[in-house]
């Protein structure tokens, strides 16, 4: 029963935002796609069309990009699983209604409020790869505790370096994951657990057969959100390792090609590949979430 004039008014109220999103998100993505099809190199825009050449080079003929893809996986796997596991464990521990729950919950979540750059500065010193007399940070702490075997360095072996760098990322996001799981756990009615207990199930069986399956949607969304964050990782690596190539990822490569090297065509292609990988994760999730909401 809305009258027409007001509907038009309402539309005009959101029009500036719609236009801003249309230009700054979709228009700019389109523009980047166009740049990625060119051989633009140097400060002056050059829209010489080279088709898919930049993409083909990156995917088949560029050792650095292949290292980046491998590094992304080496980082993503420990980061996502570490975050999920620590998040789930802390949520389970806190779901028992312990004294001090609020305190622990706030403590586990505070890294979400701090910038990667800030914590990166601390982690840079904690994870300093120097050895011998210049040893510092965690390595020094482990040595003092007689746990030398735990000493690690992100520069020694690049494979382990990526996994090592997942520690600060886990630190930053496991509290967030805990919050997601805790919300999921609180939505499970107590009656279900009580009924299982009456039937003689022990706590572990209840967890395996009832709680974990009911948490599956939470796990799925956490997986997708963390996975897409992992693909976009940039600040953390800049803060810990600078642009030292020791810990290279597509976002860093994109930065180097575009803003240091002015090879805009290649930089644009890297960023579009990054966008495609994020879209593959996020679009189905977005559709699923909105459909589920519409059903309610």
């Amino acid at each position: 029963m809305q009258n027409k004039k007001e509907r038009v008014q309402a539309f005009f109220m959101v029009l500036p935002s719609i236009l801003a999103v249309a230009i700054f998100i979709y228009g700019f993505i389109g523009w980047t796609v166009r740049v990625s099809f060119t051989s633009w190199k140097g400060m002056i825009p050059d829209y010489t069309w080279v088709g898919l050449q930049n993409y083909i080079n990156l995917l088949t003929n560029d050792p650095r990009f292949q290292v980046d893809v491998r590094n992304t996986l080496l980082f993503t796997i420990p980061f996502v699983f570490g975050t999920l596991i620590i998040g789930l464990i802390s949520a389970l521990l806190l779901d028992q209604g312990l004294k001090g729950e609020t305190f622990f919950r706030s403590l586990f979540l505070f890294p979400m409020a701090i910038s990667y750059i800030v914590t990166g500065v601390a982690w840079r010193w904690l994870m300093n790869p120097a050895t011998g007399a210049r040893m510092s940070g965690l390595n020094l702490l482990f040595s003092k505790m007689g746990l030398d075997f735990l000493n690690s360095s992100y520069t020694a072996t690049p494979e382990w370096g990526m996994a090592y760098i997942a520690i600060p990322a886990i630190w930053q996001l496991s509290g967030y994951c805990m919050a997601l799981y805790l919300a999921g756990l609180r939505a499970i009615p107590d009656e279900i657990r009580e009924a299982a207990r009456v039937d003689g199930a022990n706590e572990f069986q209840i967890f395996r057969a009832i709680i974990l399956p009911l948490l599956r949607p939470v796990t799925l969304s956490a997986l997708i959100i963390l996975g897409h964050m992992s693909l976009k990782t940039f600040d953390l690596i800049i803060a810990i390792a600078g642009k030292s190539y020791a810990l290279d990822m597509p976002s860093i490569y994109m930065w180097n090609t575009t803003f240091d090297g002015h090879v805009y065509g290649v930089g644009a292609a890297i960023s579009i590949l990054l966008l495609i990988s994020v879209a593959i994760l996020i679009i189905p999730y977005l559709i699923y979430s909105l459909r589920k909401e519409a059903q309610l």
Binding site: V118, L126, D235
Partner: protein, 272 residues
């Protein structure tokens, strides 16, 4: 009996996890409090022999221009962001126009994109409209790329308010904008707090936009800090003190308004 013992045992992993979460903060504060003659990295884990605020004083002096830039950016941008989000959320929740069901997901997707995919045109565009290098341009960028999350938060909130309230006002002859101003706006203070805090935190913590779009005079605190930490000039305990100072505003917001911060965070994963 066994369940209550298990409850007590739960404190062991919880305390261990607490150590893990506190470690970087502990190092920052502990190191920051050491006097300047205790800079040796060998004694990183030792307690300061005497407490000194010297590092914090030096760090604050170094960071002062960047802190000021961040404040100039963050306050107006989070206020404007939340006003815009509120208007958008209102229309998308209560005045669905034709095509709104397509427009909304398209807006939402914007909060997940890797910003690398829009950076090249963005820099070019900011040059063209003469907003490159300064705080106003960065502000515009934060407001625009904040549209998805701010719209989502407000839309979810307004959608939870019964339509009857709006319908009743319409029957009484209230117009579209008056319904917003007189009925919905007064009850949306909590959502304003959520969005203000979220946008404040995002803009304060942002690095990528600031490093790409501002000239060194207008660097925000994250860029200033990263630059300071990347060089060899500033002693490492001053760096630690500086990073603590840079973390303090968002940390205080979190300590005092954590409940609202968490709501914003949950909205970002599409879990109202």
């Amino acid at each position: 009996m066994t369940r209550s013992r298990a409850r007590y045992l739960s404190y062991i992993p919880l305390v261990l996890l607490s150590f893990f979460y506190l470690l970087p903060i502990y190092v920052m504060v502990l190191t920051g409090l050491k006097s300047l003659d205790e800079v040796s990295i060998k004694t990183m884990w030792d307690f300061p022999r005497q407490l000194s605020m010297a590092n914090f004083a030096v760090a604050f002096d170094e960071l002062r221009p960047y802190l000021w830039n961040s404040i100039k950016l963050v306050i107006p941008s989070s206020i404007l962001s939340s006003i815009l989000g509120s208007l958008n959320g209102y229309v998308l929740a209560k005045w669905k126009f034709k095509g709104a069901d397509i427009v909304f997901p398209l807006i939402l997707f914007g909060m997940f994109i890797p910003y690398q995919s829009i950076l090249i045109p963005l820099v070019d565009f900011m040059h063209k409209i003469n907003l490159y290098g300064g705080i106003p341009g960065l502000m515009l960028v934060h407001i625009i790329y904040g549209i998805p999350i701010t719209t989502l938060t407000f839309r979810n909130y307004y959608a939870s308010i019964p339509n009857e309230l709006v319908e009743a006002a319409k029957i009484d002859g209230a117009g579209m904008f008056n319904i917003y101003r007189n009925i919905l706006l007064p009850i949306s203070i909590p959502s304003f707090v959520v969005v203000l805090i979220w946008q404040f935190t995002q803009a304060w913590n942002d690095f990528l936009f600031s490093v790409v779009l501002t000239s060194s005079r207008n660097w925000t605190v994250t860029v200033g800090l990263n630059n300071m930490a990347g060089g060899q000039i500033i002693a490492w305990n001053v760096q630690m003190a500086a990073s603590f100072i840079a973390a303090l505003p968002t940390l205080l917001v979190y300590i005092f308004l954590g409940k609202y911060f968490i709501r914003g965070m949950m909205a970002g994963s599409l879990k109202g």
